[in-house]
Every structure is written in structure tokens, then in C-alpha cells.
């Protein structure tokens, strides 16, 4: 890959464009600035979600309503879900790292539609504001769970309509982001950047964007229907008027199941790009990883019915959805095997991003295998609506997507901010998080196995010790998070200069200055090799 060395280009932090001060950020068309805008809010909402989760766990420390009553607990898990799903994990990697790095990695100066990109951010902020309004106005925050299942969501007196309207707006933001990234990938690749040379992170974002375009409108219409139902009593989901709540569940999961792939695919992309850099070796099975991402996106769009095995759909539908669920595990497993095969006989460079990836693989594998257990029809009867389900989900989403996000954060941090964090501290934080995570969520898996129902504010005394250890684990996990973010924040203020290519990466973002200049490239680079051609570095490294 060519270097585009023009004498010290001015970084995008210093080039504020047409506006000054805060306006130079919130009205910026620069993809990197927009990515950082998202980052501030995504991590902000993440902290709020963590705090809500902390209080949920604190409530469960002892039976009998330790610190709150049932209504408050219902609001708490609803808000934790809405904030974490719609404001954090769905947008996080595409909007933060996708915005920042997708154009750079394909050798472009910006995304295809910079103004629509900015519009997406404003829609995200508007949606978030509306959700916040739903919490503080009306008759109290929503208590339906993040799924808004009818008919309860039509009956409850609390502020559901505003919340679903907020989710609708967030969906529009997500669709526009998806359209932007697919178009960008198709149109703005630099000369020589063929589909087989795309960094795997780009493949991850690309397949994700397709799901965003095709699945998000379905939750859009579902939320609109809940809204209309509440205000006009249309009756489409109201059994007293002929409506069928099961159809609500279908429409909801037609989006929300693929949405879990919106969450995990970009993280898989990060891992697929980070592992080769620290194994100093080409990825094993490049095309298999790229294509399995698309396969997950496609098959994953057809498995939504496995959320409804006990909702009263037909046995035939149950069998079909169970079969498809098992099928979607195949491309996921292909990826895991390929990552392991890449590590095999590699010259491993033991740096924090690699360890985050290893933790990702470990936790994601537990999440995936537990998913197969509950995807089989007979065990599902037993496990449905128990702690097993959220435990599995957190292994996939927090253990997978979350640690993938952290891996990307530690990998790209020196590029985004031009500074290096304390690597030993990052490793320490990772160990603390890993220990806390497993104490926390493995206890929840066991609780579910023993029959503890989810979403209850109270429990029978027999579950006491496992609940106690889960709460204990949550404290360790939060301590690890504080350590990690503290370490990064400290680096932001007084980290040492990182240099342009601290990891000897071969993708385009490492060939430009840290932090990157406005427009990324003075001249559009001509790409001559794949994303993992490390030979250049070996000769003079």
C-alpha cells in the first residue's frame, strides 16, 4: 500500500471548517467528527445503562424487594433494555468506528452522502431525546420491557407512545446510516481496492448495513402501529377487536432478531481485522469470513420465530425456525474456527487488542453454544423466560459485541486520538472485567437452568446464593469498566504520542497520520495488496 506523505497535514481536530466552537462539531460533515459525536453519546448512554443494570442487580441481592418495589423494577429493566439496545449496541460500532474508519479503510475522503450522515446523527439525538422525554413525562417511564409486547403495551397507562415514537426515529437514523455505508462501499473504493482486498471490518459493516436497510423498516411500521393503536384504537393488535398479539410478536422479531446480527456482525469484523495484525499473518480463509458474514445476515433474517416457541405458533413453524436457527450457527462457527486457525502458528504480538479479541472469542462461543441449547425445541420449553435467556444474550451482546467494541477501541484509539494508553493497565482492566463478567453471567445461566424466571423483582430463597454471586460479579465487572475507561481517559489527556502505525497494521488507516487529516488522503491511494500484507513491515521492522 502506498503512503501518502505530504508535509505534516493538519489533523481534523484543528480544521474546524465553516463553523467555530461547538457548531464546528454538531454541523460538521466530516465523517470522523460525526463518528466522535456518536462516540460521546454512545458511551454516555452506555454508562447510564450500566448504572440502571447496577441497580437491577442490587435489587436482586436479597429476596423480598431489597431496595425497590415491582413497578420501579419493571421500569428499570425496560429502560435498561431500551437504552442498551436502541441507543448503544445497535448503533455503537457502525456509527462510531464505521463512520470513522470505513471511508479511510476503503481509501475514500468521506462517506457517499455526508449531509445525510449528519442528518442520521441528528435523528439519533432526537430519538434519544424523545426516549428521555418518555421517561420523565406522563404517568411514568415505560414498564413493558424493551419488546413492547401487545396487548400489555396497549393497556398500560405509562408513557409507551412517546417511547415507541423515539424508537421509530432511531430506526430512521439507522436506515439512513445503512444506506450511506452500502453506497459508500459500492461507489467510493479507491483504485485497486477490489472486493477481495476489502478489510474484513468493511465486510462486517457492509453486511450489517444490508440488515439495517431491510429489517429496520419493519420495526418502524410496528412502532407506528403501536402508536396509532394507543391514540386511535385501530385494533390490529388488540384481541378484543379481532387483532392478534402473536402478529405483533412476529413483526417485532422480524426486525429485532436480525438486529442482534446488526449488533454482532461489526464486532466480528473488528476481530477479523485485529487478529491478523497481532498474529502477523494473513487471515485464514478470507473469503470464508467475508461470505459467512453475508450468510449470517441472510439466514439470520429468517430465524425470528425462535423467540416465539411457546407463544402459540404452529408446531411446523416451530420446527422450521428451530432448524434455521441451527443453520445460522454454521457461518458463526466458521468464523470462530478461522480466527483460531489464524492464531495457529502465528508470531503473536501480545498487546491489549489481541487479548480483547481472545476474550471475545471465549465469551462469544459460550453465548453461541448456549444459544443452540435454547434454540432446540424441547429445552426451550424449560428455559423460555428464565434467566438463561438474558444470560445467553449478555454473553453474545456484552461478551461478544461489547468486547469486540472494546477491542476496536484499544486497536484504533492511537489512530483516533494520536495517543497511546497504558497497556499494562488495559490488560489489568480486561482481566478484572473477564472475571466479573463470568461470575455475573454464569450465575445467571445457572439461575435460569434452575428455573428462575426473568423480569421478576423478587425470588424464592433457594435462588439466594446464585443471585448473590451474580450481584457480586456485577460489581467486579463495573470496577473493570471503570478501570478501562479511566485508563483511556487518562491517555486522552496525557498519553504519550502514539505514532502513525503503532501496531504495524497494513490497512489504509495506518498509512496516514494519527489523528488523520481532514479528507484523510491528499491524493487517493492506489491499492496494490490485501489488508494483511505484512511483508513490508518485516523487512524493515
Amino acid at each position: 500500500m502506498t503512503s501518502t506523505g505530504v508535509a505534516e497535514p493538519i489533523s481534523f481536530y484543528h480544521d474546524h471548517g465553516r463553523y467555530r466552537g461547538i457548531l464546528s462539531w454538531v454541523l460538521s460533515l466530516d465523517h470522523k467528527r460525526i463518528g466522535l459525536l456518536y462516540m460521546i453519546f454512545v458511551f454516555g448512554f452506555f454508562m447510564i445503562g450500566v448504572i440502571l443494570g447496577f441497580f437491577m442487580r442490587l435489587e436482586m441481592i436479597a429476596p423480598g424487594g431489597a431496595i425497590m418495589g415491582p413497578q420501579r423494577y419493571n421500569s428499570l429493566f425496560t429502560l435498561h433494555g431500551i437504552i442498551m439496545i436502541f441507543l448503544v449496541v445497535i448503533p455503537a460500532i457502525p456509527t462510531v468506528f464505521g463512520n470513522f474508519f470505513l471511508p479511510i479503510q476503503i481509501g475514500a475522503r468521506d462517506v457517499a452522502f455526508p449531509r445525510i450522515n449528519l442528518l442520521s446523527w441528528w435523528l439519533y439525538i432526537s430519538g434519544a431525546t424523545i426516549v428521555a422525554l418518555a421517561v420523565f413525562t406522563g404517568e411514568g417511564p415505560p414498564d413493558t420491557g424493551w419488546t413492547f409486547y401487545a396487548p400489555y403495551s396497549l393497556r398500560t397507562t405509562v408513557n409507551v407512545p412517546l417511547a415507541v415514537f423515539g424508537v421509530f426515529i432511531l430506526g430512521m437514523s439507522s436506515i439512513l446510516t445503512g444506506i450511506n455505508f452500502v453506497t459508500t462501499t459500492h461507489r467510493l473504493r479507491a483504485p485497486g481496492m477490489t472486493w477481495r482486498r476489502l478489510p474484513l471490518f468493511v465486510w462486517g459493516i457492509y453486511s450489517t448495513s444490508w440488515v439495517q436497510i431491510l429489517a429496520t423498516p419493519v420495526i418502524g411500521i410496528t412502532m407506528v402501529l403501536i402508536f396509532l393503536e394507543r391514540y386511535f384504537g385501530v385494533g390490529v393488535f388488540d384481541p378484543t377487536r379481532g387483532g392478534d398479539p402473536l402478529l405483533y410478536q412476529h413483526l417485532f422479531w422480524i426486525y429485532s432478531h436480525p438486529a442482534t446480527y446488526i449488533m454482532i456482525l461489526p464486532a466480528m469484523g473488528i476481530v477479523s481485522d485485529v487478529i491478523p495484525v497481532f498474529a502477523r499473518k494473513r487471515i485464514f480463509g478470507y473469503m470464508a469470513i467475508a461470505v459467512s458474514g453475508m450468510a449470517i445476515a441472510a439466514v439470520g433474517s429468517l430465524v425470528w420465530g425462535h423467540h416465539m416457541f411457546v407463544s402459540g405458533q404452529s408446531d411446523f413453524a416451530n420446527m422450521l425456525f428451530s432448524l434455521l436457527t441451527f443453520l445460522v450457527a454454521v457461518p458463526s462457527a466458521i468464523k470462530v474456527f478461522n480466527w483460531i486457525a489464524t492464531l495457529h502458528k502465528g508470531s503473536l504480538v501480545l498487546e491489549p487488542p489481541l487479548f480483547f479479541c481472545l476474550v471475545f472469542i471465549f465469551l462469544f462461543s459460550i453465548g453461541g453454544l448456549t444459544g443452540l441449547i435454547q434454540g432446540a425445541l424441547a429445552p426451550n420449553m424449560h428455559l423460555h423466560d428464565t434467566y438463561w435467556i438474558p444470560a445467553h444474550f449478555h454473553y453474545i451482546i456484552f461478551g461478544g459485541m461489547g468486547f469486540g467494541l472494546f477491542a476496536g477501541l484499544h486497536y484504533w484509539f492511537p489512530k483516533m486520538f494520536g495517543r497511546m494508553y497504558n497497556r499494562r493497565m488495559a490488560m489489568g482492566a480486561l482481566v478484572v472485567m473477564f472475571v466479573g463478567f463470568n461470575i455475573f453471567y454464569f450465575s445467571m445461566l445457572l439461575l435460569g437452568w434452575e428455573g428462575m424466571p426473568r423480569r421478576y423483582y423478587d425470588y424464592l430463597p433457594q435462588f439466594r446464593s446464585l443471585h448473590l454471586s451474580a450481584t457480586f460479579g456485577s460489581w467486579i465487572l463495573i470496577a473493570g469498566l471503570i478501570l478501562m475507561f479511566g485508563n483511556l481517559f487518562r491517555a486522552l489527556v496525557k498519553g504519550e504520542k502514539a505514532g502513525d502505525n503503532p501496531w504495524d497494521g497494513a490497512t489504509l488507516e495506518w498509512q496516514i497520520a494519527s489523528p488523520p487529516p481532514t479528507e484523510n488522503f491528499a491524493t487517493i491511494p492506489v491499492v496494490k495488496g490485501g489488508p494483511h500484507d505484512f511483508k513490508e513491515f518485516e523487512s524493515h521492522g
Partner: protein, 205 residues
């Protein structure tokens, strides 16, 4: 969709803009797709009630609206062809006709809804709630689907008004017409959606 901006030299990618519009249209199709699923499921469950309820819709008004919308699709298509050939005036006139036809469609729809509402047939009304469940669903879906379609017509009219301004200010001309093309694409989508809504609600009996 707008031209790409904010780069060193101005980048213009017509193909990219068209591609983006097609992705948007795909997404719109799935938005309406959710409602078509509901319609098919409920029609399958309540065939008689849907049959009886649909007899109450005014086929003449529906047909008129279909003609209006089809004509407007023609006029916008010719308007685009005209601007590509540099016939600015013809393009403007045809675009105005398109806007007027779009408004006519909405006025018609308003009348149609008005008559139904006068008869007490609207969601949550005591008349409708007294009817069989299948009919409540039929009229519920009728209002939701034609309503959301009408909203799309309204957006189309607004978009065309902006396009009209662009032509008058020479921001759209013989060499630069992709925004108008994309607006036309959107309008054809609105048209096609109606071509499904019309038989589903008025004709299948």
C-alpha cells in the same frame, strides 16, 4: 438525495445517488410490507367480514384516484425526460401538473374518508365497534394503510415543490437532474403501492 459534498474538489456521483435512492425504496417496500403481512393474515382469518366491509368502499372514487395517480406518474416521467433534453418550460409545467394531481388525489381521499367518518365508520367509533371483529380490522387497516400512503403522497408533493424551486434557480438543469430523477423514482414507488392498495381494499370482493 443530494450530491456528495465537503471534499477537496466537488465530488459528484450520479450513480451513487441513484443507488442510494434504490436502497431507500427497498427500505420503504419493507415498511409497507409489514402492513401487507397484517392485511393478508387478517383477510385469511376473516374472509367474510373483509368481503362485506369492502363492499362499502366507493369503487368509483377509488378508480378515479387510481387514474389521477397513474397520470401523475406519467407527467413526472415526461417532466424528467424534458429536463434531460433541455426543455425547461415543459418540464416546469409538467411538474406543476404532477403536484396538482397529487393534491387532487389527497382531496379525493379526504372526501372518501369524510363520507366514511360521517357514517360513523372510523377507528374506535361506537358504530364500528358494534360490527364484527373482521370489519373492525378491515376499516382499521384501511385507515392506517391509505393514511400512511397518503402521508407519502403529501411528502411527494412537498419534494416536487422543492424540485420546482431547484429548476427555477437552475440548480436542476440539462446536465444536473439526478435529484429530480430520484424524486420521480420515489413518486413511482408511491404510485405502485397504491396499485396494490386499490385492488386489496376496493376490488377483491
Amino acid at each position: 438525495m443530494d450530491e456528495a459534498q465537503g471534499t477537496l474538489e466537488e465530488v459528484r456521483d450520479d450513480t451513487g445517488a441513484r443507488l442510494g435512492m434504490w436502497f431507500f425504496i427497498l427500505s420503504e417496500l419493507l415498511f409497507f410490507g409489514g402492513m401487507f403481512i397484517l392485511y393478508s393474515a387478517y383477510r385469511y382469518k376473516n374472509p367474510t367480514a373483509f368481503h362485506l366491509a369492502s363492499m362499502e368502499l366507493d369503487v368509483a372514487l377509488g378508480t378515479l384516484n387510481t387514474l389521477v395517480l397513474l397520470t401523475s406518474s406519467l407527467s413526472v416521467a415526461i417532466s424528467i425526460a424534458a429536463i434531460q433534453r433541455g426543455e425547461r418550460k415543459i418540464s416546469i409545467v409538467l411538474l406543476i401538473i404532477t403536484v396538482l394531481l397529487g393534491l387532487l388525489f389527497l382531496v379525493n381521499k379526504g372526501f372518501e374518508w369524510g363520507i366514511k367518518i360521517e357514517h360513523g365508520l372510523y377507528p374506535n367509533s361506537s358504530v364500528l365497534l358494534g360490527r364484527p371483529k373482521g370489519e373492525i380490522l378491515f376499516f382499521g387497516l384501511y385507515y392506517v394503510m391509505t393514511g400512511l400512503h397518503g402521508l407519502h403522497v403529501l411528502v411527494g408533493v412537498a419534494v416536487f415543490s422543492v424540485m420546482l424551486r431547484f429548476i427555477l434557480r437552475d440548480k436542476i438543469n440539462q446536465t444536473r437532474f439526478v435529484p429530480l430523477e430520484n424524486a420521480g423514482l420515489y413518486w413511482h414507488l408511491v404510485d405502485i403501492l397504491w396499485l396494490f392498495l386499490f385492488p386489496l381494499f376496493y376490488l377483491i370482493r
